[in-house]
Amino acid sequence: MSADSSLQDFIGQQTHRSFWAWMLSRQVFWVALAAVLACIALSTLTSTFATPQNLFNVTRNFAFVGIMALGMTIVIISGGIDLSVGSTVLIAGVVTAVLMTSGLPLWVAMPAAVGACLFVGLVNGIFIAVLGMPPFVVTLGMMSIARSIGQVLTQNRMIYTFGPDQALLLSIGGGSQTIPLPFLDHLPIPNPLIVLVVLTIITSFVLRWTKWGRYVFALGGNEKAAVLTGVPVKTVKISVYMVAALAAGITGFLETGWLGSVTNSLGSGLELTVIAASVIGGANLAGGIGTALGAVVGAVLIEVIRNSLILLGISTFWQGTFVGSFIVLAVAFDRLRNQETSE
């Protein structure tokens, strides 16, 4: 009888002893800590960091990367990768621009842009899930194809007029809201940041509380197990790439409004920054691990590093060195910590 009750005790035990032990075991926590320390240091070292204008720029800049990193993190959790998101941003921008220039209203152009991006994701997903091709190869091909199609659509011209709804487009992507919150008194909050916050909450919720979220993790953990237990693997895989493309599409639309123009280079090279943000935020490229919050924190850290180098007067050529070092450091740190806890 006592053996039985001790068994019950064991089974009923919590895995994590305390909230703090749990916090300290998260990569997100350490990266967030690094970002916060960097912000504090910059606020004291420079007089330019903690100004409303600089904070406005920083938050808007990381919002774009952050939104895309949410989608990328989901793909990485599922055990895949999407190299085509930068080009998908261009597709969204070009479709928005071309349709609006031809006089169509925003409410036609935006769904069309998002639809075009979803189609890009669908094509990626079908080649990966149904034909069983490696995600790296498929999305590498799509990266090239989507950028080339974008170039064809723009005829290599810069588009900077957007028809009758131009003012609306610019105010959505480039505008801001002042929310009467304590401490943030009349600080303008850029629209992309609001979109990022909403999407982060939705992504976190979906990953934790829906079957779909559970299947994404299962897919990254052991795809064969997912197949054997009857998880609709192909459908989930296709949807994952569509979500990444959707995130890129939303970014492309907002960025078009912010920049007020579309050129061929829109979103070029962005895929690597986005992957970096996801990885710094704790997403494991081997699949099965990652969080929405981590993606955002990773994006914050990258932007804070970038911004700090500019403010400290260090040549922008050094940015790559710092961001690259952080990618390696974050993963190395995580690896060391995990070795400790597993022994």
């Binding site: 895995t15 559970r214 299962a218 953990g221 052991n222």
Partner: protein, 243 residues
């Protein structure tokens, strides 16, 4: 009572014959040891019962009724569960998440019901008398605990028959004992177990009956008490022709 009857099962792959005229009967709550050398036809036989392969000839009866098993899903719906050799667990997920994978319990608005799944998993582990915590990640578990998760998963559908492919192949001695205990728990619940193993001592530890295959044919089918490890080894290698 016979839960599963195989009658004259044969399987050919073109000119190659994997099984010839194998018949066997599995009774309720019986643990049947299936042994044989590599290529003797164990895997083929198990895959036929699991619904992966269709037999070339012969009949399958479940609870006395003639049946065709079209797919693993079909077999599962007819009360046959398989514990795969590599266990098919996602080690980034918790024990409970693995048990309910593909069959998640949902509450309001179709959202995952964590509490119910943890409770369900805890109940299954208690039933199996296994020291496994539903919230633990499978990555951090011992081989024995992983087996417990894989076996607990089969219990979810309340099967009549559980097929286990080499469950004691790559784990420590202490964990082997744990796994054999899990098999006994299944037997207590009236579930028939087919245990495929290379480890003759394990077979003699838990099985009621032993079936030996050699080159696709059944060469022995007898109660474990009437046999001996020496005889079984002889049957596997062919030193003894039949028993």
């Amino acid at each position: 009572m016979a839960v599963l009857e195989l009658e004259n099962i044969s399987k050919h792959y073109g000119a190659i014959t994997a099984l010839t005229g194998v018949s066997l009967t599995l009774n309720e709550g019986e643990v049947l040891g299936l042994v044989g050398d590599n290529g003797a036809g164990k895997s083929t036989l198990v895959k036929i019962v699991a619904g992966n392969f269709q037999p070339s000839e012969g009949h399958i009866r479940i609870a006395g009724r003639e049946t065709l098993l079209h797919s693993p899903k079909d077999a599962r719906s007819k009360g046959i569960e398989i514990v795969y050799q590599d266990l098919a667990l996602a080690d980034n997920l918790s024990a409970a998440a693995n048990i309910f994978l593909g069959r998640e319990l949902t509450g309001r608005f179709g959202l995952l019901d964590y509490r119910a799944m943890y409770k369900g998993a805890a109940g299954l582990f208690a039933e199996l008398k296994s020291e496994t915590r539903p919230r633990d990640l499978v990555r951090r578990m011992s081989g024995g605990q992983r087996q417990a998760v894989a076996i607990a998963r089969t219990r979810l559908s309340d099967p009549q028959i559980v097929l286990m492919d080499e469950p004691t192949a790559a784990i420590s001695v202490r964990q082997v004992k744990e796994v054999l205990n899990l098999i006994r728990r299944l037997k207590e619940q009236g579930i028939a177990v087919v245990l495929i193993s290379h480890r003759i001592p394990d077979i003699f530890d838990v099985c009621d009956r032993i079936v030996v295959l050699r080159r696709g044919s059944k060469v022995a089918d007898k109660p474990i008490l009437d046999s001996s490890p020496e005889e079984v080894t002889g049957l596997i290698t062919g030193a003894i022709k039949a028993a």
